[in-house]
Symmetry: C2
Subunit: 356 residues, 2 copies
Amino acid sequence: MVGMPYFTDTEQLMPSALNMKRVSIKDIAAKAGVVPSTVSLVLNGKARQMRISAELEERVKKIAEEEGYMPNQTAVSLRTGRSKLLGLIVEDISNVFFASLAKIIEDKANERGFKILYCSTDNDDEKGNDLIKVLHNRGVDGFLITPSPGMQKEVSRLIAQHKPVVLMDRYFPGLSGAYVLADNYSGVADGMKHLLDKGYRNIGYVTNDLGQIQMIEREKAFTDTMGRFLEAPDQKILRLPYHVPTAEAVEMISSFLKENTDLDAVFFATNYLGIFGLESVGQLGLAVPSDLAIVCFDDHDIFRLMVPGITCVRQPIEEIATAAIDLLIRQLEEDETIGEDMHQFKLPSLVIRNST
Amino acid sequence: MVGMPYFTDTEQLMPSALNMKRVSIKDIAAKAGVVPSTVSLVLNGKARQMRISAELEERVKKIAEEEGYMPNQTAVSLRTGRSKLLGLIVEDISNVFFASLAKIIEDKANERGFKILYCSTDNDDEKGNDLIKVLHNRGVDGFLITPSPGMQKEVSRLIAQHKPVVLMDRYFPGLSGAYVLADNYSGVADGMKHLLDKGYRNIGYVTNDLGQIQMIEREKAFTDTMGRFLEAPDQKILRLPYHVPTAEAVEMISSFLKENTDLDAVFFATNYLGIFGLESVGQLGLAVPSDLAIVCFDDHDIFRLMVPGITCVRQPIEEIATAAIDLLIRQLEEDETIGEDMHQFKLPSLVIRNST
DNA sequence: CTGAAAGCGCTTACAG
DNA sequence: CTGAAAGCGCTTACAG
């Protein structure tokens, strides 16, 4: 029995159908007549350092090339502790805003040799926290997260463990981690200024009921503006529940407007297109009297097309994604500096008046 | 030196900042006073089989629970050859159609304990082929792909290697692999029937120039219908280049319509919303004379809202995604049956007349 | 019932 | 310059 392979029935370990018989470092070594470590050294660019002859280096490289050798990333990850994998946790990948972020992040990550594991929290704290643990357990090198409010503890744990994390679109005020998002306060302030400049004074506000930091800051800009520029401001605010069917939400907006006939303008605090789906935009268009001035926060091309004369405050999606992935990779590469110089960005939003 | 740890300076192997000191199976074993294999056996539900005492089993489980132990997936993958990772390769994750697919797939995959590695081909054959290799190399258990035409060889290699693959939205006619997509031919035929029923006879057709199988089948339905129902059909077809700026594409459509003033209807073969971006819909709306009947293939809520009276042929996105992931997981689980009973689905599209 | 050992495919300090 | 060996964290056949 001596000399027999340890597992006589390898099928049980790895079904042959799945066993791709990929070329391993051993195969290359055998072909080149060297030991596997030499191959590893050469392929990791340490031939010089280890004073391996140039011709041997060339030979090994050539064979590896010919055989189409690619190091098994799972093994590399286990050995080195670096997976070249990034965890992307967004609210909902099917929402245009997050899908756009995901695409830009993917491109930038690929350029640096990183792949992306994505998942959606659906604004569910527990799901989000689980996701962090699971991805961590899968060995991702870092995280890009648009966290829901209840994810603060889990996120701070990551930061405490010096795991690279960059938050996007939201952040936790008390937490000294990196984040990138639109400057929500000034965005809404700018949009409000636009309305005031046009002479509107009775401005209503529609937001959600999630208590997300970005929504709070937007709302603060609204109430501040109203309080600053108007005497005895009568603030009409509608808080739509997040998990409500489209038709019902539209109904609530309709009622809100009917109950407040004195309004001459409405500020929508978020992208109802993304949340309620495309259908709702049309219904919303119908529900909103045409003599009402409208400003929307978020990337609402559709809204602008649907509702002539609407003004949008647009988030700089590309800039957010680019800055976030850059920050994350910088954290990954210059490990020592983490914690010393934090990076927190609020990027300016753009007020876009519809040209139509 | 005997008894000293092999690596005196572990920092160099794994920077402590990244070394999460996660609880390992060894820690649990030490706490429980057993050997690591026992822990592994218990946690993998093989206590019974190995006749480990119920009380020991309980104790180990309790400790693992208390310590928050999760097996390191990288190590499990390396050992078992199964990563519980699925590769999702789409044309462009930021396109609503693919983002919607991605969300449904994510949900279904999570239910089964799988995570998703996504990437976009951007319709670039070489990029797509690289992606297959890289994901394969990362040890994904299976693939969900919306391939570009030049990916056939790489896809068939996967199939030849019995790697689970399900194609979505496209397929390769010569290839005996699993796929799920809308029945493109009948979808367009249905849409055409709708136009003919309404009395339209001079129907133009706008498609892309990629030669993708789904586009070919759609076009065939168009030409067949024209040839079957009309005498001496004068087929006006516009092939828009894929990589063309929106404005230019709209311009080309405009010219096409001007050069063919006898047209009374136009059939759009794909989702120009997704391809050209939201802006284009408005421009397209403006470019299309209002007395022209329009049918669009794809999930065009926007189009329907923008262009009153438009008819859409909608792809059953949810059904496609659900069927695809189910098929893939079935391939993963019942490994033996692969190759014997292939699964190929063409799901019916839905013709949706605008109610507006 | 339990434990020692091999091995998944790599990387790297160390000894020659 | 090169090679033997350890070890990343697991799983599992096998020997007691």
